[in-house]
Amino acid sequence: MSSNRQAAASSPWRAPILFAVLAILFVLEGTVRNGLFSGSWNTALAILNMGLISAITALGVNMQWGYAGLFNTGVVGFLAIGGLAPVLVSLPPVEGAWAAGGPRLIGSLLVGLGTLALAKIVYTRTRRAWAVALVLIAGFVAYRWLFDPAVSAIEANDSARTGNIGGLGLPVLLSWLVGGAFAAAAAWAVGKVALGLRSDYLAIATLGIGEIIVAVLRNEDWLARGVKNVASIPRPVPYEIDLQQNPAFVDFAGRWGLGVAEASGIWVKLCYLSLFLVVLLAIILLAQLALKSPWGRMMRAIRDNEVAAEAMGKDVTARHLQIFVLGSAVIGIAGAMMITLDGLMAPNGYNPLRYTFLIWVMVIVGGSGNNWGSVLGAILIWFLWIKVEVWGPNLIGVLVGPLPDGDIKAHLLGSAPHMRFIAMGLVLLLVLRFAPRGLVPEK
């Protein structure tokens, strides 16, 4: 994808100008109220916060794609497994859950992992399929024998309110790192198998792991209550209601000429915003340092010419595994942040189109291989994704206005929300074709 077509256009001012345009869009969203913008700072900041989380996800994807050419189609899964961390780390422990089945549960999971490890050892030592099968079957029986009763006991424990294993009651910010670790572990397992083969195989394998992780979250009630959802995940920032009851804050809001409700919403969002910015900048800083290090140069050398790098004795597969795990960890962090922002773990929300492929649109549009490009692409695409939901029906409403009322008009109006899928697909295809280096090309 080394097209020179854009080389002339990529001046050093390109990125700053584009970011300025983005800033103007958000200011308009916050201040102007018309058919296009809401004129609400609360809305603008909400979009921006989610945009920043998308940006961090996009950074993770960009590490994998931009630095190593790995196509991860299971982003939704890595986000979801990262989102599990706030539930398991920051929620208060559930009374009785641990006593009901905690040790047995841990034991069963250890048995499960041990079985896989043993199977591998048996395979490398003996190379006998029946021996491996025997180990796997015995291990599976033992695992289920421990696992099933433990799960029933935990789920029976106060099932209306909790029925899950509960958290550790630790600070929620810690769970962001844990989320990264979860995702890294899952990525290591997939990468170990699927890397080093044809490039499409990783794409297909990650598609699978993504669906499986989401299915686990949906169905394992003992873990995070499944589709019964976990609400009230602790916040790292103040609650609106507390602010509204704090006279000092009411006073402060009054000085800005804002209603207390609006001001408290904005304040909370600004708190999140600063946290997210810190994480984003830290990740970009680390990524840039890594990219400039000998390690980063080697990564790029491998990406640009895998065959030559292999011939020079570089272990391409091992490097790819490193970058795949690192990128997934970043995605996991974003997943934990997202659940923290929402305050809610709702597994049914993890839709691959929204959480995998939309992220890909962001990365490609932003400029694969360029971290700032990914950030720009993420925030811009997220802004458009949200706004098109409003603009589409408005636009169609205007267009079909002259039509007589009836089935066709109703159908057209009703179909407007689907337009954004087509729009995103077209954006991806057009950028891939006509500007393959994206809005902010790699230097």
Partner: protein, 335 residues
């Protein structure tokens, strides 16, 4: 020990559903494998294209039903199928012209094709939503059962019932016909042989005077037919919900890879292998075991994995194949 009842339960809950599902997967995997063999990329838009073809067929079916056209005991959808195939063929040919051909000329890396197919997937997904919405649709009509549970019980005098839905039988029969026709085409006609030649050795095919664009067009048309038929049969059997067609992508890929990407026989074998594993692993065997070992109280459902995890079965099969035999059972294209 009650072998007859156990057998009937097995047929009813495992064999028949898995055979129908396997046939659907086989058709899907055939499409994936053909596209892979000729165009050399994994088509992520496959599931959503299947959904599109099915949606068009459903709309045509409704149209025919409102006109009072029907096929008697057979579903009207069979009559509407050619319309769906034609529409899908036009769509994929247009997509090839607008999207993939550019990368073919450029000789772009396979992963770029995959990426482009993701863009196409978005567009197809939106188109399907546009024409039919996101809700579940049923469009099967005609006779519901070839063998109904009660009739079977009365006829056999067994406690266990057996049902054979007409859509299940239809799926298997149509799949057999389609596969036979496809193999006849690939092995007996000049155009089909040219396709295989192109898949085997693109450069030599060019030197032999085979027109690559013609081969590619032919491939898309055949793939469109396979996709639409697979999608319609799946929809008739299970009901139509666009999102299911995205999810079925994983078992289809697994089937194609197990069989060996690029190998049509492998795709069919892979489809049935994945389907039978999926159904066998997620079926609660307690009933069958109850007939076989009357005294035994297993104290569980004897279900290896909940049905919610049926995708995990495809995934595990995929992983095992990638670990031990990345070219698949039937030696597809190299790694």
């Amino acid at each position: 020990m009650d072998i007859l009842n156990a057998l009937v339960a097995f047929l009813n809950f495992v064999f028949i559903p898995a055979a129908a599902y396997g046939a659907q997967l086989a058709l899907g995997a055939l499409g994936v494998t053909l596209i892979y063999g000729i165009l050399r990329f994994s088509n992520f838009a496959h599931g959503d294209t299947m959904a599109f073809g099915t949606a068009i067929t459903i709309l045509t079916t409704w149209g025919m039903q409102s006109l009072g056209i029907s096929l008697g005991p057979l579903p009207t959808a069979l009559l509407a199928l050619p319309v769906g195939i034609a529409a899908t063929a036009l769509l994929v040919l247009g997509t090839d012209r607008a999207v993939y051909r550019f990368y073919r000329v450029q000789k772009a890396a396979p992963i770029i094709f995959v990426m482009a197919s993701v863009g196409v997937m978005f567009v197809m997904n939106g188109l399907t939503r546009l024409v039919i919405g996101v809700d579940e649709q049923r469009f099967d009509d005609g006779a519901r059962f070839i063998i109904a549970v009660r009739d079977f019980r009365e006829w056999s005098g067994l406690a266990e019932g057996l049902a054979l839905r007409s859509t299940q039988a239809l799926t298997v029969v149509v799949t057999a016909i389609v596969c036979a026709a496809l193999f006849w085409f690939l092995n007996r006609t000049k155009a089909g042989k040219a396709m295989r030649a192109y898949s085997d050795n693109e450069d030599l095919a060019l030197l032999s005077g085979i027109d690559p664009e013609r081969v590619v067009r032919l491939t898309w048309i055949i793939a469109a037919a396979l996709m639409t038929i697979a999608g319609v049969l799946y929809g008739l059997d299970k009901s139509f919900r666009p999102f299911n067609y995205f999810q079925i992508l994983l078992p289809i890929f697994a089937a194609a890879i197990v069989g060996g990407l690029g190998s049509p026989v492998g795709a069919i074998a892979g489809g049935f292998l994945v389907a039978f594993s999926e159904v066998a692993v997620t079926y609660p065997w307690v009933k069958v075991a109850g007939y076989l070992f009357p005294g035994w109280e297993p104290g569980g459902l004897l279900q290896l994995l909940g049905t919610e995890y049926k995708f995990a079965v495809s995934f595990v099969i995929l992983i095992v194949v990638l670990l031990f035999r990345p070219t698949g059972l039937f030696r597809g294209k190299s790694v």
